[in-house]
Homo-oligomer: 308 residues x 2
Amino acid sequence: MGGYYGARLAQHGADVHFLFRSDYSAVRSKGLVVQSHDGDFTLPPERVRAYDDPQKMPAVDLLIVALKTTSNDQLASLVSPLLKPGTMILTLQNGLGNEELLADQFGAERVLGGLAFVCINRIAPGVIRHTDHGLIRLGDFTGPTSSTPRARAISDLFNASGIRCEVLDDLRYGRWEKLVWNVPFNGLGAALDLPTGRILATEDGRRLVAQLMGEVIATAQAIGVALPGSVIRNQIERTPTMGDYRTSMQIDRQENRPMEVEAILGRPLGVARSMGVSTPALEWLYRLVRLVNSGKANIGLRNEKILH
Amino acid sequence: MGGYYGARLAQHGADVHFLFRSDYSAVRSKGLVVQSHDGDFTLPPERVRAYDDPQKMPAVDLLIVALKTTSNDQLASLVSPLLKPGTMILTLQNGLGNEELLADQFGAERVLGGLAFVCINRIAPGVIRHTDHGLIRLGDFTGPTSSTPRARAISDLFNASGIRCEVLDDLRYGRWEKLVWNVPFNGLGAALDLPTGRILATEDGRRLVAQLMGEVIATAQAIGVALPGSVIRNQIERTPTMGDYRTSMQIDRQENRPMEVEAILGRPLGVARSMGVSTPALEWLYRLVRLVNSGKANIGLRNEKILH
């Protein structure tokens, strides 16, 4: 995700410094390749300021965090070298608790949050396939409104770089509204290994999705985020138009990678528990996804015995 | 399962008539091939009395029912032509409710039930792979005890035919004891697509299995089947010795075949509900497996879009 948005910004002239992990050497030799449904483009190596170590990077004006939340324990060491007075930190990470973590470690005044509605797949080192969407909705983490001058300035930069962007009046509202979708579809997709279309194909599935959405909405309302119940119907109705999506958490399961269990399920559940909101479906889903997520190294050990 | 046990009986000289469905023509031309960890053997076509229609079969002394329970709506038409006065019906089918169904349709006095602890896989038409175990525990459906002279006679026949067999004092006890294992491992295996070893590899999994087993035991106790709580520990401890088993319901999921949801989960849950036993884990598991089981025809329709 960071590679895609960074490539868009660089494509349109921004001075972008990329911190890569496993893709570093591929990008150094071949550049950054974006296969996009909006048109393919390649940033040649000389146009990608690529690094494999944040200690080698300059401090920046705006730091965009696209780290998978399962690596959040590395955030402090990755971010610290890039800060100077006034550096803004925008997290585009999934789920709940990322702005809070950054605020705790680096000061709330630096932090903005964004929600990325985008379909991206890294298909090879340095090669990104962008298949659909791309909207970012962002806002400031603190203040009476999330729509601050600096949030609007970042939004303007994105919109000028081929990235559709909206500024949120209330970042928390946006986060929780996205969780209403992510909790059932990432959670059930990962637990049951089913794409969205399969989950919604039956009355059993639609009822379970609606129950989970209702529990997320009740939790949001308990902390003052006024999501209306109509969100359930709207989200269930728009989802079939996406086809048989595999959510990121289902893909992580299939690719034997760590799933973002805590960001997407555990932290919303923690809020519900602390507020005394009854969320039985979310409790079960969390237990099952944790079970599936643990010990994934054993996947593939199968024998052909069948016990009837 | 019917092919395996019938082949064993025929191998040892019993006069066995086989009703096949899709395997009929393969058996007529090539016979019945059993690849067994106890030694391979083949019944040539002239030694297999194979039929594709019960109307063409003679009435029998002992009818062994190994039909998948998802086809139980066909039982009446399959069984009726094979009955004469005194015909005994022994069901080796999975789960709960099969003796009751046969008793309702053909008279309780005909019915016996058996539990098959066996690892069998039909690997090609007319070719059966028997990988482990094979014990049958059986008993009469009615009477103060399940251990009747005719149950013991059938057991003697099996034991004389290379099939280890025990007679149960209480068939219901045996059924429910097997359900204590089948509910969690078939249910979670099918819902999560995980083999037994993966489910038990983590504390989350062991706790969930123990909870499900406890709910099945409480349900059995509510109808007078005195399963002790120690069954939980015994069954959890013996399961890892089986390796990474895929239960029949998980295989059905992977092979895109109907799962025995009602026999293994729905009927025990119905008993719990009717007796007012609280079984929240079983309620959730049933919902999830029904969801997975429905609309399986759509499996395989995937696209490569990933929504983060």
